[in-house]
Amino acid sequence: MTALSIDAPLVERVLVNFLREEIASAGLSRAVLGLSGGIDSAVSAALAARALGPDNVLALAMPYRASSPDSLRDARAVASAIGIHLDVVEISPQIDAYFATQPDADSLRRGNKMARERMTVLYDRSAAWQALVVGTSNKTELLLGYGTLFGDMASALNPIGDLYKTQVFELARHLRLPEAVITKAPSADLWAGQTDEQEMGFSYEAVDALLHDLVERRLSEAELLAAGHDPAFVARVRRMISRSQFKRRMPLIAKLSDRTINADFRYPRDWGR
């Protein structure tokens, strides 16, 4: 057991009830989400299926032609394990059509465009099916800014955004998700053979331990070093968090009136429900 170990049955109860009640308070009973074949979306999907019933959850796999075939295979395994319907929507035609005019785009631009393309498909299908888009971003990637703004970070509600990646793994084991999804290396699947940990240059275990000390326990710099965290690593992670703050907030609105939205026009999100 580590400092990050969770009471998984309690977390499941809270999150299942969160999805059921917040979707009901929007006057809806269905959810749509992207199923990547990774652990985060598998956990979100399993929670949504338990909250709403498997028939009320639609999963979309949205591969690009260069996506790993393993991703689609794992997404199918998850959908079948939790009994939800999986639609496969190829995004290659629209991505290729766009980048035909942008031949110099690097892999980051291409990856972001794909993430945003998937977002528009999810929102379109959610409107067609009168469902809400359920988010799949965990707390580690939200804090580090390891996600595409208005892409995979977009959703109506997110059950796992307050769970670190290693906690998502623990919840996945409790939810008895397919072993292949739990054991494989996390990947954004932006190019062949990519893994998150390779790209970021540190392990989720190490960064979660640091984030827990930094964010949850509010340790000072001296305390972090005394706890054995590498100073260069601490500095890098601090920078990643502060530089990505914009991704965790609504766009800035230039203040002019006495009642600027969000600054002094402050209603609950569940207003009128």
Binding site: M1, A3, S5, I6, D7, A8, L10, V11, R13, V14, N17, F18, E21, E22, S25, L157, F265, R266, Y267, P268, R269, D270, W271, G272, R273
Partner: protein
């Protein structure tokens, strides 16, 4: 305490800003309590309005004598009713208030002394703070009301104890927080609920009172309220404990238990109000420049 009383804990959800539908739900719960033989029914903090009101606060506020509260005054004939709402004072100050209705009247109002304004809470932005902690007489004995954060300041419990309360009723809208797996064997629920249980046991044991605690459940703006409503006897032992889900259950508060406890442990007899008062005056003189 003079009489046995059966208290019904109405651990419920609320529609945010939906006073009319919440009021109907109150009337139904009062009826259920009556049928279950209760003489007292307690609802959570802001049960009539919902909790995360923010700019909705002035839109749902009602004066204590507002005609819209009449169905609740009427429902309090034959059963006492404690509920929470936003009270607008004659000066148009808005308070997070708990009302004790009895015999068709609003018998007592407690205004939250400590609106919480740190971390996830921003209550002082929207609500004025109350400044009176007073016990009052009911048909069964002497009662006092507190709202949520008030109870984290033991001075409020102490004042009700000094004011000879037999029963301290705390209304709350406490969010479920704390999901760590490091709790002692057999511990139940989120960390925040276990802290509440410890506070309630401490209050009952230290002040020899019955503690009645009713917390919200349901979800508002992503926050899950933790339920965990409880009745704790004057020995600090749980008489009734509810879980996370909506639930209405009853427990008996027994004057014989309170009498036995106070006879064996005469804390109230020995309490030195003069010492407390004198020292508080000295401390206040030392700490503050008026």
């Amino acid at each position: 305490m003079q009489q046995r009383v059966t208290v019904s804990l109405a651990q419920c959800d609320a529609v945010l800003g939906g006073v009319e539908s919440n009021l109907q739900a109150h009337l139904q719960a009062i009826e259920r309590a009556r049928k279950a033989g209760a003489q007292l029914v307690v609802f959570p903090e802001l049960s009539l309005t919902g909790y995360h009101l923010r700019d909705l606060t002035p839109e749902v506020a009602l004066a204590a004598d507002d005609a819209r509260l009449q169905p609740l005054r009427d429902a309090s004939r034959g059963i006492d009713v404690v509920l929470g709402w936003i009270e607008e004072s004659p000066e148009h100050q808005l308070f997070n208030a708990a009302g004790y209705f009895s015999g068709g009247k609003l018998l007592h109002v407690h205004r939250k002394i400590y609106p919480v304004t740190y971390g996830m809470f921003e209550e002082s932005r929207y609500w004025a703070a109350g400044d009176q902690v007073a016990a009052f007489d009911t048909a069964y004995g002497r009662a006092g009301l507190l709202i949520c954060e008030d109870m984290w300041h033991p001075s409020t419990s102490y004042l009700l104890y000094a004011d000879r309360a037999d029963v301290i009723i705390t209304l709350s809208a406490s969010p479920a927080r704390g999901i760590g797996a490091h709790e002692p064997q057999g511990a139940q629920g989120p960390g925040s609920s276990r802290t509440w249980e410890a506070l309630l046991r401490q209050q009952s044991a230290a002040f020899n009172v019955y503690s009645v605690y009713v917390n919200r459940c349901g979800v508002e703006d992503g926050t899950t309220f933790a339920g965990g409503s409880r009745v704790i006897d004057p020995y600090g032992e749980a008489v009734l404990s509810l879980d996370l889900e909506p639930r209405q259950e009853s427990a008996v508060l027994d004057p014989a238990v309170l009498r036995r406890r106070r006879a064996a442990l005469p804390l109230l007899r020995d309490e030195r109000l003069d010492v407390t008062l004198g020292n508080l005056e000295r401390i206040a003189r030392d700490r503050f420049v008026y």
